[in-house]
Amino acid sequence: MSQKPKIKELLVESACEHNQTRKAACNAPTPGATTGGCAFEGAQIALFPYADAAHLVHGPITCLGSSWETRATKTTWPGRDLTQVGFTTDINLNDVVFSGEQKLKDAIDYIMAHYRPEAVFVYATCVTAMIGDDLDQVCKQAAAKHGVPMVPVHAPGFVGSKNLGSRLGGEAALRHLIGTLEPETTTAFDINLIGEYNVTGDMWQYKHLLDELGIRVLATLSGDGRIREIRSAHRARLNVLVCAKSLISLTRKMQEKYGIPSISLSFYGRRDTSKGLLAIAEALGDTDLIRRTRTLIVREEAKLAAQLEPYRAVFAGKKAVLNTGGNKTWSIAAALQDLGIEVVATAVKKATEDDREKARAYLGDTGVLMMNPGAEQARLIDEKGAHLLLAGGRSLYTAIKKGIAFADVNQEKKKSYGGYAGLLNLAEDLKNALENPVFKLAARRAPWEK
């Protein structure tokens, strides 16, 4: 048991300034009125992007069978991309009755013999946690046998939400990987990117700019990540949390243990990308670096402005309603404003206090923060004369009914909207949505209903 992280401690995160005022971060879900993923999914999100490691899910088929190949976490790893390979013990009734440990051992041996990963992450799930399979012991023995890290991840779904699971994933990396290997070289500008999963290649929208500035990404958790790099992450000069409050416990502990300071930022939209780059340079504290970063930002913003020029006329005077959750409540709003679109309302029902404050700052006094978007958004579209609704698929009906353009906020799972260049992708997609006649045509009444 000593190997397992203390969940209570993770729930009461001292580094989170809102924890005094808010209900416990991951309070119990309401039966019959709960949405959102479980802790296992959160751990999976945090760790699966390591393409050189195998991710073995010890449980029945639901956990992996429904979830593998669902996230486009891109990698440059030249070997077989293990982010897109699903491994599961797919336990059966026999394992539930007599324990699944032997099967787990055999599965690890099979993976090592056929795939030779740099590490194996072994994920507990509700059923295998319940029957008490000893992952720590199995992993310890397997690590000794195969000579690569075997990381038990104790985030079975029933311990809580996705957010807690991401914390537990970070905890597993801290306990079993970080600090277990020294980097070959170090530089004065070594940073870790924490919580950047490189979904659709988001990280690559700004990584080349860091390279150009001489800022070295020593390790990531976990986008385009490598096991070797995260093992030596303790030598970084700065931890950069990218849009991921869930991993704040990890960065705090790394500060306590290794003295690495951290900053939290977003690379979504023009202003946030510029602010983010500058924040990194300032945190590293080198005056020359700061000067060069400012120069680079001026250059990149000018380039972007020129590229966005053809879109200005399309977006001029356009108003949007945004219905999403989490950090997207303000980060997408900021990106829309960068394009010249007025954001008249954004949903903050599924957002933290921190997110709500940021949303208020971006929207100003006139923008509406919707606490009950399902009921409010249709009315606000009329009142504010919005032209565009950005939301999840369910809200398509609202847009159709109002005869306005619709864009699925989850498109970003297929295409990167991050960094400066991502804004061009967003501009193109929104232009296409605004110019598309389909939303009005699809709502046309049938001849027999007129």
Binding site: P29, P31, T34, C38, P60, I61, G86, T89, L93, C126
Partner: protein
Amino acid sequence: MGEVTHKRLKPLQINPVKLSQPMGATLAFMGVDNCMPLMHGGQGCTSFTKVYFTRHFCEPIAIQTTAVTDALAVLDGGDYSIVESVKNICKKVSPSLIGLHTTGLPETKGDDMSWIAKQIDFPLVYVNTPDYEGGFESGWALTCKALIEQLVEPARIVNDNKLVLLPHISLTPLEVEKIKDFIEGFGFNVLALPDLASSLDGHLGEKQAALSSGGISVNEIKSLADAGVVISVGDSMQNSAAALLKKNPEMRHQHFSHLCGLEATDSLVELLLAETGFSSPPLTLARWRKRLQDAMLDSHFSLGQTRFLVVGEPDQLAGICQALSDVGGKVKVAISTVDSPQLVKLKADKVLVGDLEDAELLAAEYDLIIGNCHCEALAHRQNKGLVVRGFPNWEEVGNSLKHDLLYEGGAYFLFECANAATTHRAHLAAG
């Protein structure tokens, strides 16, 4: 009928095609009108399932979870979570039925569903579907059986014009509709259980649905037992048919392992002619039969020189393997998600219960893959052709309107496969 391996030989699944029982149960409940599927387990099972089907069907999916936590898993026998769930669901929506189905977690600790169901004063059907047993197909079939056992009222007389269709899980919404239309062409009033034809066919509704919209109604299910004829499609549905016959032994039951290809469709027509006493089917069917005959001849040259890998659920494999082999297609390997009595009957040289790693190791044996969208990476790596069928299909829109069976769908299916095979050969020839 070739060599059949019933057991998985590895200690794990690598790139699985298998899906879980509770997910099959969810989908079955989606085929009941105004239903709220309620999955009993941790919140993740439900969340994964919701996202999975939303992406597959491009439709919002209504489903709720009992959200069992670690503390509740120890302290509660399931009754608290379920009673609370029903209460909370009814605060927001008014379903005609709650479809309670379990997952591995509550089954491991032994929650007693039949006892809990008795504590609940609301229309509810329960089914035990642990995900460490069975699979997608059995979850659907068990749910169908539970709907029959717990809802259908016994009857003693039959209405000869009424026919019940029990379709297996791999039939698309449009396929269910096509079978119903086909049978209705003979003058029957057809009810399908479950019926995805009107719920997940991808139609623009009046408003966003908080419950399943479309499907067979609870009242229709209750009065199924006075149908003259029961048709089950897919071997997984035989237990459901047996359960229905228990409600009224006067019903006449006919089973089809699948409805793909000329012979199976002919058998259905023979049955319907015998039941109605008609001497010939509707003109359009006769016309489509001729088109299928022509399609078989037109496609045989391409398909006759093609070696296939077919991946899917047992009942789905039965139909696809038959349709391909009818025109000389060589099904070299059929990979099933789970074991089933269907497997020994498959028209394939090699049949195994396995995953896509097995498929990868056998890559030298086939040219064209018929399977779900997880096969895309495999096809790309191994340079194979691909026709996407089955769950999931996240890459193509319009899945629910694909139809591969009876005379009409059979013709389209052969054309699509033949063209894919020809394109693939041209692609290989071009290097």
